[in-house]
Symmetry: D2
Subunit: 359 residues, 4 copies
């Protein structure tokens, strides 16, 4: 990671909405020593409001940073949060109204929820994949009359698949795509999945996940042109499953392309991919956004999820498919790359491209 401050050499004050939940905690961990951003406020639901953070949150992994532990939890209210940048870990049941209010009140909102992802004027961004989609913000602010803005990151499984496929789509253009996922329990938050439901078991269903995955893939791999994102013209079928894994979504992929690559051309494309140039110096950007493993039985969640500090997606088993062209397996960290870490990197991209302005 580089840590030089962008442009003006200043740090930004940031707040976390939904700070007591699982994703909120991941934001706190990832931002604990961030070179550009200072967490100055934490907000959560009424139940937590006014309490010390340490009393309001049931901390799930490692040690709670001391500085955050002593903060008083604010209400999730745009009038009470003073930071100009807010990372939203809110559940989709409340994210719609709240994030809109924060954006209207002039905040930059980095959202993890599904609510705005598919809006025409809202960027759905994985920095290495489609940094250019941020250009939608001009239209968003103009059309909505917001002084702030909303930038969303993708569904956690879509993030893994889109990163694994972006280098191939850039060169060979996707035509048809089958995705089959095996998703970690942390994707459902805390308490989330009951142990009686998942110990020694598989649940072949995650509510609303398949349509999300199918439509987000097309937008993520779409092209920004003339003020709009044109979704990738491909057909996508996704089947999603929950498995007894703590962190790490595994995606089995089969795909065909307009221009059929051999497996070895595909591997080269994956290996050579550097991601959007705008991201090369971002603090959260891993040296390799993608790693291709040659082990025949990898990637595996337990052994590969921590690659690149949880920001690298690992791809393996790239081989010919007897029906389509290629098949492969991709794995990424669902709460880091697929959630909080993705939002942090989106904010870094806003900062480094000068979009945070005087925020």
């Amino acid at each position: 990671m580089t840590s030089g401050l962008p442009r003006g050499g200043r740090r930004w004050r940031v707040a976390i909405l939904g700070a007591t939940g699982a994703v909120g905690q991941t934001f706190i961990r990832l931002l604990a020593n961030h070179p550009w951003f200072d967490v100055v406020e934490v907000a959560a639901s009424e139940r937590s409001e006014g309490k010390r953070y340490a009393d309001a949150a049931r901390w799930l992994e490692g040690e709670m940073p001391q500085r955050i532990a002593g903060m008083t939890v604010l209400p999730t209210d745009a009038g009470r949060v003073t930071a100009p940048i807010v990372f939203s870990a809110l559940d989709s049941s409340v994210a719609g109204d709240v994030e809109r209010a924060f954006a209207a009140a002039g905040k930059f909102v980095l959202s993890n929820a599904k609510n705005f992802r598919m809006e025409d004027d809202v960027p759905l961004v994985i920095p290495e994949v489609n940094a250019g989609h941020l250009a939608l913000l001009d239209r968003q602010r103009r059309e909505r009359g917001w002084s702030g803005a909303i930038v969303t990151n993708a569904n956690c499984a879509a993030t893994v698949a889109a990163m694994a496929l972006a280098p191939l789509h850039e060169r060979f253009e996707l035509d048809t795509l089958f995705l089959m996922t095996m998703q970690a329990v942390s994707g459902a938050g805390y308490p989330g999945v009951a142990s009686l439901d998942i110990l020694g078991n598989v649940i072949p269903f995650i509510a609303d996940e398949e349509p999300k995955l199918e439509r987000e893939m097309c937008k993520l791999l779409g092209r920004f042109d003339d003020g709009a994102v044109t979704p990738a013209a491909m057909r996508v079928s996704a089947q999603t499953n929950r498995v007894a894994v703590e962190h790490g979504h595994t995606v089995c992929i089969a795909a065909s392309f307009r221009d059929r690559p051999t497996a070895s051309l595909a591997i080269n494309a994956l290996r050579e991919w550097k991601g959007a140039e705008e991201t090369w110096n971002l603090p959260s950007r891993p040296e390799f956004p993608l790693t291709v493993t040659e082990e025949v039985n990898r990637p595996q969640p337990r052994r590969d999820v921590a690659a690149g500090g949880g920001m690298t997606v690992t791809v393996g088993r790239v081989r010919d498919d007897p029906v389509l062209h290629l098949r492969m397996v991709a794995l990424g960290h669902n709460t880091i790359r697929g959630a909080a870490g993705g939002s942090v990197m989106n904010a870094e991209l806003l900062a480094s491209t000068g979009r945070l302005g005087a925020a």
Copy 2:
């Protein structure tokens, strides 16, 4: 289950090869109170030969039947086993030579190994699906000059998929098929998968499983005609994964057909399916070879694997596919329906169709 003895009203003496391993033990459990077959001999590798069965086997589930516990383990030698019918739980590394020798020596061999499955003159049988393939035996005995015979059952994951798809193939004719499996650790035998490899993990690879699955599907759903089985003319892509489940293989399926069914026509076809008439009175035949669940998040291994005593395959989430025609999830018990139980039912089919003759 019916238990009336077929035809001549007699019981058959049977032996188990590879009796000390995981599949061998399942044979012993399933045959402990079988109405037609008496286990009179157990055979295993040299290490076990001559020992009491109770001393040679590390029993894995429930109680070891007393009668078997006291048997002396025989060598895996066609000259030493006197029973005319042998259930073979041998590993493929030795099954080829041994099963051939037993068949040549006049035994009916019910094989779980892959070695002979794809031979043109060897039936690969799931009784409800393709009972008629047994007719290959005439050719087998004639061409090979065997007085005995080999009947194989399918790979455990192929068995689950083929049962779930047989009713649809019969009516709508499969064209293209994607299979993605999440397979239980018991499929790898004992000791099999190391706990350090699978606790909280997924392994996206099972040696040699994908090609097996792809080619066996076509033979299983093929048609017997004029002395030969013509494989189903479809394209198949399979991806196989190991998950932290004890028993029960889950298969995510996407398929297209020559004649496109709606999801509701497909559900009807699955519900109405009775399987080959020859199987209706077999002792191991469950009342419903297939069950269609309406729960949105089923089938699940822990909750559905025991359906029909492990002989019923449960299908769920039958719905339209955005790329092909249909998708669905199937689950079956890998060591019962997908291994020992399948062989036992194959033997019952041999018996009830008069093929065991004077055996």
Copy 3:
């Protein structure tokens, strides 16, 4: 199991309180084909009241009995439930008031909650261990002026330990006892333990469990005499842990006695134990309430929990202790023997001893 009806040859109408939860469902399963009891009513909290049972309950294991599925869920109100016998699966937060009201209204209440267990006039019963404690009911009804009555079963871990120790206490009299438990997640109900808390983990704490275990052991093994139960005069230390097991509490035991037995005398005592004679013909009574295994690495939850239909406790590793006299490991099914099954057997004991009278 015997199934002849006791005495008058009649069946009793019973109701289940808290019928939609995990323990309530176990009651429904165990009573589905009970020879003496008919489930005629199910009651649950306000949220479920008035719904069809099938719509109110998220069924956890196997198939929901058809007859129950169509019942309308009643409120947990003694005025609305007509059955004279109620099995209470209520949580301790509400069990106190509700069970008291039902008893006052003339119902026989079989309670799973902790609320009344330690009251001087309330029997805490494991039938094979202390059937005689039911005699407390005379005092209970007299002193409280109830026309009904409350009988409690013990904490699930205490049940396992008390059954394993009862034969030794009867012969050698316990003096000092160390218990260390590894308890299944089903002991915490549903949804209960979050998967993120227990996958690949151990939680060395269960709220309020250790004091419960320590004091219930003394009452369970106490003697009824002269209208009161005198607790066993022993010292008990318990440490309780939650592990990633679905069903089955394992208890490591170390104990000293007034009269020191050798390990082999202890094993004999365990083997010969038949439990209270009043229980020999009860329908839920397993042939062997205790089994002693000789396998060096047993009992194990996955392999032994189903012994005796979940009503048998398995004991193993009985051996000398270097500090006290003996140590051993006991295992039992926490939701069957340690909860619903225990209550059902308590009701059978009431019935067979004529205490249900004209109920």
Copy 4:
């Protein structure tokens, strides 16, 4: 960690015996960037001899260090290994002869095996606990006529328990001790525990573990005096269990002392403990060898095993015991603190106390 080189400012060449197994790999990881030691040779069994390390080892966690990957595996032969210091990850079935031969050949052997631990002239060392026991080496070399030496580390569970109890034993003197363990599967090496044995299960037995634990505790906490270690005069009872945890042994402890401490005095003693002064500047020494948690449900393997890089033992639930004086729960990393990391720190202690001399 400090990284200043001790005394002479030189680095030592070291070799790893049993380098391809699970503990051997942990040595490689821990020594990859060690400030004092350079891994210059790896040795393993005949099967691996002569191969590249990368081809001989199935790497279990993270990335294999490049420098080691290319090394040629040597035979486990004192004549072929040139490094003066050898870390032995050998199994006890071969460690006896091999380690003796290396010591006789002038090597310093840091052993993980049980073979020599209980020999009167062999130090059994946890540096913070009993650094002084190294003084046994004079006697060892004199009596055995070795130019080299053997230093052993303790059984993994004994290490956790001894660290948690050392501060209390120093101040209050242990009298009686009950230990009940829940041990991770990695303690059994690789492939070790079969997944079919441990998924959703507990195994209440680990071969030979209980006597090891009982006797090593007394030696570890014994006093070096007048050329010999006098074992602590206490009675110990240990019960050991295997649970479905990857890394981290949890130990439930109950203890009495010559001088009874209150729980709060005990907590203070644990908190203030710094361990032997000789260890304060060792590179592998964590800032806090012991941490006392105040969370009511900690320590937990998944959440606490990585404390201090796996070298810190976490203690929790320190409270009065109803039979003895105190009870508490301790947790430590079995393959780091309890195996390879312990040996590395033992070697550092040898180095910093000048015992490696001209090695």
